[in-house]
């Protein structure tokens, strides 16, 4: 009897380890995470609009239907990117996610304080390679460090009422992410 109780206890302890291990490993093995869902529709380093969620189909669960959304699935291995997003009438935000869909930075139109949100995205390594004088002249220029080489930029424009959705879509349709001219790295 005691023997079985001990085995039960040992099994439960081992179960705790199994639990922690699966929780930690799961993000690396998930095949239906947001990045994987976007892979087939979003080419690398290009802003593409995401179809609005409907009851029948949605690119991702829990998308806010009041927003027009576009994404840029980025890959910084060829160098930094430059992102320009014209702001819409009401509320525009740009959120940055790592390869594992963890948000590491976000900025909205008011924080940017201009009619266009403009910034350079690079890895920490590429940022360190920037010539110093470039960094000084870049003082008024927003540089975002990506913790991972690949990831997702989500651009969202609010349509305060359904009739304004087309305007919100049009505003972010002009958004661009393209190789940055800030500096040729490795020069």
């Amino acid at each position: 009897m005691i023997r079985w109780l001990l085995l039960l206890l040992g099994g439960a302890l081992l179960g705790g380890i199994v639990h922690l291990a699966t929780v930690i490993v799961l993000p690396r093995t998930a095949t239906r995470d947001a990045y994987a869902r976007l892979e087939p529709i979003a080419p690398v380093n290009k802003v593409v609009p995401i179809p609005a969620a409907t009851p029948d189909s949605a690119t991702m669960p829990f998308m806010d239907p009041a927003f027009a959304i576009a994404v840029c699935r980025y890959d910084l291995s060829q160098g930094p990117l430059k992102l320009t997003v014209p702001v819409s009438l009401s509320y525009t935000s740009v959120s940055f996610y790592t390869r594992n869909d963890i948000a590491y930075y976000a900025i909205n139109d008011r924080a940017a304080g201009r009619r266009v949100i403009e910034l350079d995205l690079m890895t920490i390594e590429q940022h360190n390679q920037l010539p110093e004088e470039e960094d000084v002249t870049a003082a008024d220029r927003l540089i975002v460090d990506s913790p991972t080489t690949t990831g997702i930029i989500a651009i969202r424009a609010l349509a305060p009422e359904p009739g304004l959705m087309e305007k919100a879509k049009a505003a972010i349709a002009a958004a661009q992410c393209r190789p940055s001219d800030i500096v040729k790295t490795g020069k």
């Binding site: 302890l13 993000p27 998930a30 995470d33 009851p55 669960p61 963890i102």
Partner: protein, 192 residues
């Protein structure tokens, strides 16, 4: 033989306990640092790089992009203020005010995070289109049948969740439940 049987028993217990706990934790969407106000729960840290392993695992499993903290905060309600699960066949009233934010939206999803089909094609409200009372408060009737005022149709589904997202707000990781963060009350008015 006894040794083999014993080891097998321990391993089966380990697998059941471990995988069961993982499944349970992730299907509940549990994470650390919950901010609960009334029936509304938010995990502000999930929208940052400080997201804990549970938040990371649930983000990957659900396949969503969490609301980044610099963008906004999202609160979820699965039950009314008395703890009764939200039922699409009942009339539920969401009333009150929200914490200060530039914009907010409220959206109805099924528990899997999909929008619910309904005849008027309405899935939520934004702070701008909602009809308010003179004092600035509002009431949304979440019900299967049409209702006067702000009607959010449920499509008659059995279970649903409400997600209230505050955009450009001071509510965040350091927020404590209190008077400065008033959330709307969720009351089940009548059930068939």
């Amino acid at each position: 033989m006894r040794l083999l049987l014993g080891t097998l028993f321990a391993l089966i217990v380990a697998a059941a306990v471990g995988l069961g706990a993982t499944y349970f934790a992730l299907s509940r969407g549990a994470a650390f640092g919950a901010l609960t106000i009334g029936t509304w729960t938010s995990f502000p840290k999930t929208g940052t790089t400080d997201a804990d392993p549970y938040a990371r695992a649930s983000i990957a499993r659900i396949g969503r992009l969490p609301t980044a903290l610099g963008d906004g905060v999202s609160f979820t309600a699965q039950s009314d203020d008395k703890g009764k699960a939200l039922d699409g066949r009942c009339d539920v009233v969401v009333s009150g005010v929200t914490p200060a934010s530039r914009f907010w939206t409220i959206t109805l999803y099924n528990p899997a995070g999909e929008l619910v089909a309904n005849t008027v094609d309405r899935h939520g409200f934004t702070s701008q289109e909602i009809v308010r009372r003179a004092d600035g408060s509002f009431a949304i009737v979440v019900a299967p049948r049409a209702s006067a005022g702000n009607w959010l149709p449920t499509g008659g589904v059995e279970r649903y969740v409400l997600v209230l997202r505050l955009y450009d707000t001071a509510v965040g990781v350091s927020t404590k439940a209190g008077r400065e963060v008033p959330m709307p009350a969720v009351t089940t008015r009548s059930c068939p």
